[in-house]
């Protein structure tokens, strides 16, 4: 502790139980573990020194941003030192001519767009937590967002990274932010590595010019199958909407009871929120086509946002959706499966059955256009046994996705939550191949241990530990 204080200063280390307890989980609350300490770093040099110190003492450690992650990526298993990146939050360089910006990892996602919007630019990846989440965390989790259908996820927007390796060495990947450098795609490897390969200390991102025009459609359906079919038909018609979101009846109950009610009818099965953007000429044609597709699929009511205020409300209602579940349930577990779009009706029906089987309500708020599902399993952790049931139901949802030819995560990451479920899509050999890569970067497995991959004999333990409230500090 003393050595850490010598590096960052006494006030930049938290170690009292009362100060640490708020760090025992991130946005995923089903598993909790106490960190040994929290260290606030303010420069790449400090990160390097802290890492060297911890490496020497063989103390495990985790980098943490805003802690809005949904798979436990920043949650300690017990006894790690958390390196908090939130004080490294400056924009270092803005080069609009070359459409790039260099930020520190603690820079808030939405602030990036806000700080360049007056010049007509924005940063495309827009996870719903963008009001609070950090770009560094986005890199670790390869975050997506509603508008990733057209624009791609975080990895498609990263031009360069500076990272501190577990050895303490500082390396730069993707120098000068020139895209598509020769050699192995290390940027691709690091983006989405969930903080297991290195600690990002500087990020060069792509910024885009604001689209010239934008229109948003809201379509109410009486049948989930019709809504799902409409999704497939829109894509099949050759339209790539900027966003194509779906919300079902339980989810609508949640958002309408919370802070941003739109006045959605309560008796519909689902609605689609569809946004088209690009060059003004052509947007109206695409909207016409979308309206036609919706009508062909028995839409009850379909409307185009009248103005920016209405559009903003529809989006606030959608983006605040997860948090809004608090209004109808004390806890939720959100899953993140991906499936081929054409299998939507079948998979949604199976998820409904899983809810019935475990006697838990499941809300669906998701990126329908990507086939990226977010079943939100509503439960009450204070009811004995309910957390376990929710965890099992979640795991079964992922199994359904994997069996439908999909994947267990689209954008939230694996973290602690889905480590065991990695076996649904990877064989032991495939997992071993990936952990071999980890060993190249992180040989002692001190950096964010126990995350992303099932560990022999550990995954069961972790799942079980999840049921216990807290781990003792070693």
């Amino acid at each position: 502790m003393r050595k850490l204080m010598d590096i960052v200063g006494e006030s930049e280390v938290l170690y009292k139980r009362e100060d640490l307890i708020a760090y025992e989980c991130d946005g995923y609350t089903m598993y909790k573990g106490m960190p040994r300490a929290v260290v606030f770093v303010q420069s790449t040099q400090q990160v390097s020194e802290v890492v060297k110190c911890l490496n020497k003492e063989e103390v495990p450690y985790i980098a943490r941003g805003a802690g809005t992650g949904l798979s436990g990526g920043a949650t300690p298993l017990g006894g790690e030192v958390i390196i908090s990146m939130v004080k490294m939050k400056r924009m270092l360089h803005l080069d609009l001519e070359n459409r790039k910006a260099v930020v520190e990892p603690g820079f808030i996602n939405l602030k990036l767009t806000q700080s360049i919007s007056d010049k007509g630019y924005y940063y495309a990846p827009d996870p719903s937590s963008q009001y609070a989440c950090t770009i560094g965390g986005n890199v670790a989790e390869n975050s997506g967002g509603a508008h990733c259908l057209k624009y791609g996820v975080t990895t498609n927007h990263i031009l360069g990274l500076e990272i501190v390796l577990p050895s303490g060495e500082i390396v730069e990947i993707g120098k000068e932010g020139i895209p598509d450098q020769p050699g192995y795609d290390l940027l691709g490897l690091l983006t989405g590595s969930e903080g297991t390969l290195g600690i990002v200390t500087k990020v060069t991102v792509k910024v885009l010019k604001n689209p010239e025009g934008k229109k948003t459609v809201l379509a109410y359906f009486d049948e989930i199958d019709d809504a799902s079919q409409a999704v497939s038909d829109i894509i099949a018609a050759g339209i790539i909407p900027a966003a194509l979101e779906m919300m079902d009846d339980v989810a609508i109950e949640g958002v309408e009871s919370a802070a941003y009610p739109v006045g959605h009818p309560r008796d519909i099965a689902a609605f689609l929120l569809i946004e088209v953007d690009g060059i003004v000429a052509g947007i109206d044609d695409q909207i016409e086509e979308i309206l036609t597709v919706c009508k062909q699929n028995n839409v009850r009511e379909v409307k185009v946002a009248k103005n920016e205020a209405e559009r903003a409300l529809w989006w606030a209602n959608r983006k605040m959706g997860f948090g809004a579940m608090g209004a109808i349930s004390p806890d939720y577990l959100v899953q993140d499966g991906v499936i081929p779009r054409t299998r939507l009706p079948e998979v949604l029906a199976k998820i409904k059955e899983i809810g019935k089987k475990y006697n838990l309500r499941i809300a669906n708020i998701f990126h329908a256009g990507d086939g990226n599902l977010h079943p939100l399993i509503l439960y009450d952790a204070s009811v004995p046994g309910e957390s376990e049931r929710a965890a099992k139901a979640g795991s079964e949802c992922l199994k359904v996705c994997a069996d439908a030819g999909g994947s267990i995560t689209g954008e939230h990451g694996v973290g602690i939550e889905k480590a065991a479920e990695m076996r649904f899509i990877f064989t032991d050999e495939e997992i071993a191949a990936q952990t071999n890569i980890r060993e190249v970067f992180n040989p002692k497995d001190l950096l964010n241990p126990g995350k992303l991959f099932p560990q022999p004999g550990r995954c069961v333990e972790v799942k079980r530990a999840g049921q216990n409230e807290m781990q003792p500090v070693p």
Partner: protein
């Protein structure tokens, strides 16, 4: 939702604890004292983190325990028996500004402010303030604010201090240099104390012209002593709009500062007195955002008191901010021009606490000649936060500096709807060597009406 109910049980702890809670007191985890916090409030929080960047103390510290979600988590941890009530728990809970910015940001409408106040109530019962802090807090909160005579005497003293030359002497002799920096800064901007309206005005001030209705008005403590001119302006504006203004003499301090400080007992006593004082009025108009918010939350205060709850609910619904009241009742548009550039600061307890943002801006915009220039991050706390600037000068100072930095260069006035903010921002304006005039929104309207009169336009 009624989670957590099962965690409650009746325990007889009286024998175990000195000065312990009464035998009948229910407990909740490590909350052992009267007036338990509400488990339903934290049940709404799903730890999503949308509140983080809205929180001024998180923006400054980056520390999770100084964020709304972190504080809610700690409060819940005590109820779960994972934490004790001690200094380390009390610090993040008392470092909260109670500015409610998190409540605006929260997707699930978690009442963080209410929870903080309830937790403070537990802390102050478990760990009563002692020493100098306790004495100062007691003097102001219990001895002066709720006591009209003493408040008037304080006003008298301040007038004496300012008029007698004592202020000049104090400033010249350097006596003030022995005071802590923040108190010195504050002394330097003390407005000229007027004479409290409540003591001077009749109990009923008749409307000008035809009477459209009658309203009660809370005169407040700080407002009436430091800014009695704002109270006078408020009464004139209401009169001018056809309202008879009632100033019931038995009204008292709203109790907000007590509730913020964890002294819910005194808060409730004051609340009862106000509920009684205004019982004959259907509408209670307030020009101080902090007081208005407190009055509107009397029902929260009496959450655990089935006898008072219906009365408190009925009262809370009668309370309205003056700007909202005027706007919604189609206030008379002034005809004279006041040529000035104004920016508007959202008082936390008006914007976040009462959801009043649009109406005061609209009032300003509809005064001929007033050009409203938006203040960036207008609804971020200025650091005043009741007596936070006295108890937490360092954090309050940082927030004040940011607020002043944000004020657009070319405005002549900064308008707002809360006396605490007025004092704090006036202090910032002086400290930063700027020249903007700090005004209450209603004052601008009043000046326009006065000009109408002078020009025979009314």
């Amino acid at each position: 939702m009624n989670v957590g109910e099962k965690e409650r049980e009746t325990v007889n702890l009286a024998g175990m604890l000195e000065n312990g809670p009464a035998c009948e007191t229910k407990t909740l985890g490590n909350y052992l004292w009267d007036d338990l916090p509400d488990p339903n409030k934290w049940a709404d929080c799903v730890h999503c983190g949308m509140c983080l960047e809205a929180c001024p103390t998180y923006q400054e510290t980056g520390e999770e325990q100084h964020s709304p979600r972190g504080r809610v988590y700690l409060i819940k941890a005590v109820a779960e028996g994972k934490l004790d009530i001690n200094e380390a728990f009390a610090k993040p809970i008392f470092d909260c500004l109670d500015c409610r910015a998190c409540e605006t940001a929260c997707p699930a409408d978690v009442q963080v402010g209410g929870l903080i106040e309830e937790a403070r109530g537990q802390i102050r019962q478990a760990m009563p303030l002692t020493g100098l802090k306790g004495a100062v807090s007691k003097t102001f909160l219990n001895g002066i604010f709720p006591n009209k005579k003493r408040m008037n005497r304080l006003a008298g003293f301040m007038r004496f201090y300012q008029n007698s030359g004592l202020q000049t002497v104090a400033r010249k002799t350097g006596v003030l240099n022995v005071m802590p920096r923040h108190l010195k800064d504050m002394e330097s901007i003390l407005p000229e104390a007027g004479k409290p309206v409540l003591a001077r005005y009749p109990e009923v001030v008749p409307a000008e012209g035809e009477t459209k209705g009658r309203v009660g008005m809370l005169t407040g403590c700080v407002m009436d002593v430091m800014f009695s001119d704002v109270n006078e302006a408020t009464i004139r504006v209401l009169n001018r709009n056809g309202y008879e203004v009632g100033l019931p003499k038995q009204q008292t301090c709203c109790g907000a500062l007590h509730i913020h400080a964890g002294d819910r007992k005194t808060g409730k006593e004051l609340a009862k007195q106000n509920i009684e004082a205004f019982k004959d009025y259907d509408k209670v108009i307030v020009n101080a955002a902090g007081c208005g918010c407190a009055l509107q939350e009397y029902d929260e205060l009496f959450r655990n008191d089935p006898e008072m709850l219906p009365l408190a609910k009925e009262f809370s619904e009668k309370v309205e901010d003056v700007s909202k009241f005027l706007y919604e009742n189609d206030f008379e548009r002034p005809k004279s021009e006041i040529n000035t550039k104004v920016t508007y600061h959202d008082a936390c307890h008006l914007a976040h606490g009462q959801g009043v943002r649009f109406e005061p801006r609209q009032l300003l915009k509809e005064i001929p000649g007033v050009e409203l220039v938006e203040l960036p991050d207008a609804d971020r706390c200025c650091g005043s936060a009741g007596i936070y600037n006295l108890t937490h000068p360092e954090m309050a100072g940082k927030l004040l500096d940011r607020k002043i930095d944000d004020i657009p260069e070319n405005v002549e006035m900064i308008s707002m709807g809360n006396p605490g903010c007025m004092l704090q921002i006036a202090m910032g304006v002086q400290k930063h060597g700027r020249s903007e005039k700090v005004v209450h929104t209603v004052q601008l309207l009043d000046w326009a009406y006065e000009k109408d009169k002078e020009q025979g336009l009314s």
